[in-house]
Amino acid sequence: MKLARTVLAACALAVAACGTVSLPPVRVLGVKNDEAHKPTYNGLAIKSGQLVLTESPDATSYVFVLIPKKFYAFTHAAVISVEDGEPWVYDVTGEVKTFPFKKRLMDNVTGKMYRRRLFEYVAPNLYAEIYDPPAGADGEKLAAFVRQKYAEGVEFDSYFDFHDHTKLFCSELVAMAIESAGGPPTAPEPSNPNPSIVEGMKWLGVPPGEALPAGRFADPARYVGALGQFPTRTAAWSYFEAKHELHRRFTMDQRMGFLLSVDGNGRVDVRPEISAFTARAGHLFDADPNPPEPGDPRIEAAVRRLAADAFGPFPADAPAASPAAPVTAP
């Protein structure tokens, strides 16, 4: 009984501590306004059925980036539903319990669907972009699908099984919502064949060989707006390009420990030189009077120069990068 009271007290303390956490302000960093995108909310052209892609500040974001064979930005996906003029965000997500009581790591992850105001939803994240739904998908139907799943109380699928829809993970929910609204189906894609990733996926118990990254739903042609803690979209996409570079360097002979560490409870952390690299990338164009827009090859070139400076050139026999070196557009 005393033990139970102690644990409860510790939980209460933790809750109280959470209540005092102040998050950095969320800023609108970009908006697309045209005939089809009239501002409706803080300058953003928000409609039901739009997708919100976010980038988490957690170390796990460095794990997620390595799992798909191909690089994708963003760690999480959700859907907007405008209700009485207010944009609400619906997503399904999980979190590790405070005390990991179960031996299998993912058995300690629980979650459910959430409904949160747009800015409240974005606040704990580094960055978010909003996209129109894919062609053919009806936004209202898309939003109705996630509202229905929320009403059903769908649980989070901590084993990321795309083929079993009794529980859902974030991109599975979004893929199902798009398809139910008349949009194109989204199939999982190959996961990273790197032996270290294969071993890690086996340990986690997630399906081998496939992944459905949140970034699959990002399409510059459907971009609506951006929010977050970065000062500009250029800074955000320089950070993403740094993660792209980490992915590019993660060849078959590399292992997770070159970027990450793990403690006795399975908690993953990023090695300091890796987080320093991505942080520096976010500042590459701070003093540039004419900073590149996302997708501009100058971002890739600058990040590769930074990586060569931090870790040596890649491939190892590549010529030293210089500002004049030709670059390939992403």
Partner: protein, 92 residues
Amino acid sequence: MRRSFLAALLLAAAACVDVPDSVRAQFAGPGATDRSNYRPGRHGSAPPVEDPPAPKAAETAVTDAAAEPASDAAVEPAAEPPAAADAGGGVS
């Protein structure tokens, strides 16, 4: 009360997640012979660090204790990520 707290700590410690040796090995840092593409430092064929410009004679003549080497003055503070460490974004 203190005994209860210790018991809670022991319970938490005993309930550690099973991280098998094979997985722990995947999270080991790079050894001296590992070929890591993330080893810090400008090694391999990376361009050499440029030497700082030589100080002018007039500057070297100053004997003020406050004068610092030019190379130190050029060191930038460590970059910080834009997010607070305690910000917890959802990932799934």
